[in-house]
Structure formats: structure tokens, C-alpha cells
């Protein structure tokens, strides 16, 4: 193990290390702690210039209550859920299939198609903006959740295919050969042999896509406008203009907007990290 395990070092360094950990963490999370502090402060604190001191009263319930009952925030949150969940399902389904095709079969053009998916995924997505916006407008899907979902599914399929294909490739191939010898139809091999083995990959991808799509801002402002379809990342800017310079409200709103992926991360941490670090170990 590197660096040298702490148990094998001097007593002094052990104590220093234990003390250093929480300090380092607080420094690292300082910007977030500041926002959390802002969000429970009363309005008067900002008027009197008490930005960083102790709150004069605890107004957490009032502030967060206003986020939920006095703004469009719940609508934006609902939009985000209604965009994120179908995208998650769509991209995972499509890429399970493409990943299966590219990971199991040997055919001409296999690697070429695989690299097309990867390359498309690396492209700076600004180059897609004008044509995709035009396409969405022409289909009558501008400013709808569907328009946003369709694009997200397509774009995420690139990354998901990379992920699924590499995962499926690592599965024991004799299993598939054995099924073929038994005369099992190919689509049944996909459904009954490969799919059950892919559960960890499906879980990892789902959490990753959830986070990516929830946090998307660029496409949200390119393809939607207004509270009918906009997700919360875009909604937070209108929220902020509603509460201009009201830092306690803007902080509470930001925390609410950021929370779902954070919860997802803490609940599914193992899968999340397995997904993000795919390929970091040979």
C-alpha cells in the first residue's frame, strides 16, 4: 500500500493525521458550508451586513418553505424528474442492446461503429447545437420535455455504449457459446444469459445518467424556455431573478436544486464510483 499505512508510522503523525482530516474536509467544503449557513439565515442578517457571522435567528423552515410554496421551484423539480427518468431508461435500454451487439459478435465494422460512438461522445457539443435546435423546432418539440429527452437519450447512448460494451466483453464468453450449443435463440441469450449478469452495469449507468442529466444546463437553455418544460438547473436562474439579492432564498433554492443527485450518490455510492472509474484500473 502506498503511502505507508498510518498504523506503521509514529504515534505523533497518527494523531496529527486524525486531526488534519476533519480540518482539511472543512476547508474543502467551505463554499458549501457557507451556502448552507446562508440558507438558514433571516433576511435582516444580510441587510445588517452579517454575512458570515452566526445567524441571529434560525429561519431554515421559513426559507425552505418559501422555496417550495412561494416559487416555481416544485414545477422545475418535477420537470427535472420527468426529463431525467425517461432519459435514464431510454439510454440504458439502447446501450444495453448496442453494447451486447458490439461486445459479443465479431463482424465487419464492429470496431468502427464502436469508435463512432466514442468519438461522438467526445465531441464538444456546441457543434451539435444549431442543427439539433433546428431539428427540434421542426419536429414541433421545441420547449417540450420530449424534445430534450430524445436528444439526451441519443447523446448519452455514446457514453453508455462504451461502458456496456466493455462490461459485456469482460463476461465469460464460454457461457454464451454454451447457450448457443444448446440452441438458444440469440435474443434469448441477450435476455436470459447476459442481462442478469449486467445488473451492476445497469445500476452504475443509471445513477451516472441520472446525475449527468439532472445537472445538464446547456441543452436545457438551448431547447426549452419557461417553467412548462425547463428543468431545475435552468429554473434556478429565474428563481434567482425572482429573489434578486435575497441570498438566504437563493441559497436555499440552490441546495434544493442540487440535492437529488447528492442523495442518489450517497445511496448508490458503490455503483456510482464503479461507473465513474471504469477503466481506471486495468
Amino acid at each position: 500500500m502506498f503511502p505507508t499505512p498510518i498504523e506503521k508510522s509514529s504515534r505523533n503523525w497518527q494523531i496529527t493525521y486524525q486531526a488534519l482530516l476533519p480540518i482539511a474536509m472543512i476547508v474543502w467544503l467551505l463554499p458549501l458550508l457557507a451556502v448552507a449557513l446562508f440558507s438558514i439565515k433571516p433576511e435582516t442578517d444580510f441587510a445588517t451586513g452579517n454575512f458570515w457571522g452566526w445567524p441571529t435567528s434560525f429561519e431554515g423552515f421559513t426559507n425552505y418553505g418559501r422555496v417550495f410554496f412561494d416559487s416555481d421551484m416544485p414545477r422545475y423539480l418535477l420537470n427535472s424528474v420527468m426529463i431525467t427518468v425517461p432519459t435514464m431508461a431510454g439510454a440504458v435500454a439502447l446501450s444495453a442492446m448496442t453494447g451486447f451487439a458490439l461486445g459479443i459478435y465479431k463482424f465487419k465494422g464492429n470496431l468502427l461503429i464502436f469508435f463512432m460512438f466514442i468519438a461522438g461522445n467526445f465531441v464538444p457539443f456546441q457543434i451539435l447545437m444549431v442543427p439539433v435546435r433546428d431539428l427540434t423546432v421542426n419536429m414541433g418539440l421545441y420547449d417540450t420535455k420530449t424534445g430534450l429527452i430524445l436528444f439526451h437519450i441519443a447523446f448519452q447512448t455514446g457514453f453508455c455504449t462504451l461502458f456496456m460494451r466493455n462490461f459485456i466483453r469482460a463476461l465469460p464468453y464460454p457461457l454464451i457459446e454454451a447457450a448457443r450449443v444448446e440452441g438458444v435463440a440469440e435474443w434469448r441469450i441477450f435476455w436470459y444469459v447476459v442481462m442478469p449478469l449486467m445488473k451492476p452495469a445497469l445500476a452504475a449507468l443509471s445513477v451516472l445518467i441520472f446525475t449527468f442529466i439532472w445537472n445538464d444546463y446547456f441543452w436545457a437553455i438551448v431547447l426549452t424556455q419557461g417553467p412548462d418544460a425547463q428543468p431545475v438547473t435552468a429554473g434556478i436562474t429565474s428563481f434567482n431573478s425572482q429573489f434578486r439579492a435575497a441570498y438566504h432564498m437563493m441559497s436555499a433554492g440552490s441546495i434544493v436544486a442540487a440535492l437529488p443527485p447528492v442523495l442518489m450518490f450517497f445511496l448508490m455510492q458503490k455503483h456510482f464510483i464503479a461507473g465513474l472509474t471504469l477503466g481506471a484500473v486495468k
Partner: protein
């Protein structure tokens, strides 16, 4: 779960059964390729096409040949500022890699509660860039912001605040971007460190290697795959940077924080009429900057793939 072959109709048994292995992959690929082609591959070429036109996004496109590129490269000051800011992003964003490695080395221990600390160090990455941008813009507020107060203690006064001053604004935004990116690199390295071969480390230790020598000659070579991915995601992240700029400064002050992706967006959906052709031309330039990196990434992945099988 039954593993017996189903009994397909006689018609199906004929041609499909005989060609099953050859046809199945294409059937499975079809929906994915269709989506990807319509929304990702074709638009790349369409953008090239549009960049040779003048177009407001609604009416007819007018062919202008290379005029957009001539204007772009012939002394468009906004373009120059954006381009150099992109270069700044590229280089400074790479700092996330050593910083992530440093934190990973710091946290790679087995004391009590370390898993909690690792999660806490990682989780800025999970927060949306919009929120991180907002948080940092309050952190940087002139006079009242925490950063300004700390700087005040040292006696440094940045006129207009970090984000209000054209000389510091871009760096302020990059610093905000580095925060989640470092977290990402850290988690890559933590995973990599977990897989470092303990026997090699012990052997090197017996040979008297320690500290930075051990890190450089024994550990880092084994962390190569993690470094590669960290490099890929950091480069892509740097060139795609948009959210932070849109939220923190909206390109200002005096246009000093524009990058190509932001300038492209601004031109295409500008309030003074949509200039889609010019926007597309900017996107094409950004694409070519990226292309060098993409080619390198694909080449490395292709090489590894050949070795694997």
C-alpha cells in the same frame, strides 16, 4: 429461467435462423445507431454546412462561402479573447490531475471513518455546475464575500471583486471549475491506488525506495490508466466549459471571460438576431481544436483494445 430453444414459426426458421448470428447484431444496433446518427453524427456535418451560410435560423440560408471564417480569423477581437481563454482553461484545468492525486494520496489510509471523508471530498463533483458556479460567485462577492474578506486580511484588494475585474475573472471561474474536477481526479486515483500491486511496493521498499522516488518510479507507472482517464475527462471538461461562465459572469466583465463555446452560443442565439452561420463557424473551430485530442484518445484506446484480445 428456461434455456430451451423456442419454436419459431416455419417462415422465420428459414432465412432468419440460417443467418441469425450475422443478422442479430445489426438488429440490436439499429435503434442505437439511428438515434445517434440523427442527433449526433449528422448534426456535426450539418454544422459544417451551415457555417458556410448566413442564416437567422428561420428564413432561407444564404451561401457566403468562407466569409464567416474570414471574419472570424481576420481580427474578430471577441474570437481572439475567447480562444486565448480556452487555452487558459486547458492548461489550468489540468492542475486538477496533480491536485486530485495529492488528495488521493492523503486519503489513501485505513483509519476509522475514512470512507466518510472520501465521500465528502468527492461529492462536490455530484453537484450541478450551475449551483457550484452560483456558490462561488457569492464566495467571490466584492467586500462581503468570504474570499474578499480573507484577501482583505492579507491586504490584497481586487478592484470590483474577483469576477468584476477583467484581469482576474477568468481565473476565478477556472478555480471554481477546478473544485469538482479535482474531486473527480481524486476518485480516479483512489481507485487506481487500491489496485496498486502491494508486492511491487514491498519489493521497492526493501530496495530502499521511498517518498517521491517511490511515487515516481513505482506508483505512478501503475496509475497510468487512471491518469489517462483523468486527462481525457479534464481536457473535455475544459473545452466544454460553458455553465460556469454563463452563470458566474455571463461572459463579462467587458467580455473578458468568454470562451469559444460561450461565444458560439451568444452569436447563435444573440438578442440582436440569430447568427447561426457565424455560430456554427465558431463551433467548427472548437471542433478542430478538440479533434486533435479525440484522435489521440481514440488511438490510445484502440491500441489497448488490440492488446486486450
Amino acid at each position: 429461467m428456461t434455456m430451451t430453444a423456442d419454436a419459431p414459426s416455419h417462415q422465420q426458421r428459414g432465412w432468419y435462423k440460417r443467418n441469425e448470428i450475422a443478422v442479430t447484431p445489426w438488429l440490436f444496433l439499429l435503434p442505437g445507431i439511428l438515434f445517434f446518427a440523427v442527433y449526433v453524427i449528422l448534426p456535426i456535418f450539418q454544422s459544417f454546412w451551415i457555417s458556410f451560410h448566413q442564416w437567422d435560423g428561420l428564413g432561407e440560408k444564404t451561401w457566403v462561402g468562407l466569409a464567416n471564417y474570414e471574419r472570424l480569423l481576420g481580427g474578430d477581437r471577441k474570437f481572439e479573447v475567447s480562444f486565448w481563454n480556452n487555452i487558459r482553461w486547458l492548461f489550468l484545468y489540468l492542475l486538477a490531475i496533480p491536485m486530485g492525486l495529492f488528495i488521493a494520496l492523503f486519503l489513501n489510509q485505513t483509519v476509522r471513518g475514512i470512507r466518510f471523508y472520501k465521500s465528502m471530498f468527492f461529492f462536490p463533483f455530484v453537484i450541478s455546475q450551475v449551483v457550484v458556479g452560483l456558490v462561488f460567485s457569492w464566495f467571490y462577492l466584492p467586500n462581503t464575500g468570504l474570499f474578499d474578506q480573507i484577501m482583505g486580511l492579507v491586504g490584497i484588494d481586487i478592484r470590483g471583486g474577483v469576477l468584476g475585474n477583467p484581469n482576474t475573472a477568468t481565473y476565478g471561474i477556472i478555480a471554481a471549475g477546478l473544485w469538482p474536477q479535482t474531486a473527480y481526479c481524486m476518485i480516479l486515483y483512489l481507485t487506481g491506488l487500491n489496485a496498486v500491486d502491494p508486492e511491487q511496493v514491498e519489493a521497492a521498499r526493501l530496495d530502499g525506495a521511498k517518498g517521491h522516488k517511490m511515487l515516481w518510479y513505482v506508483i505512478l507507472p501503475q496509475l497510468k490508466p487512471a491518469t489517462f482517464i483523468a486527462f481525457v475527462v479534464t481536457i473535455i471538461g475544459a473545452l466544454r466549459s460553458f455553465d460556469f461562465i454563463a452563470v458566474m459572469t455571463n461572459g463579462g466583465p467587458f467580455g473578458s471571460t468568454r470562451v469559444l463555446s460561450f461565444y458560439m452560443f451568444e452569436e447563435s442565439l444573440s438578442e440582436f438576431g440569430f447568427r447561426m452561420g457565424y455560430g456554427a463557424a465558431i463551433a467548427v473551430v472548437l471542433f478542430f481544436i478538440m479533434l486533435g485530442f479525440i484522435a489521440y484518445f481514440l488511438y490510445s484506446m484502440w491500441r489497448d483494445d488490440k492488446e486486450a484480445r
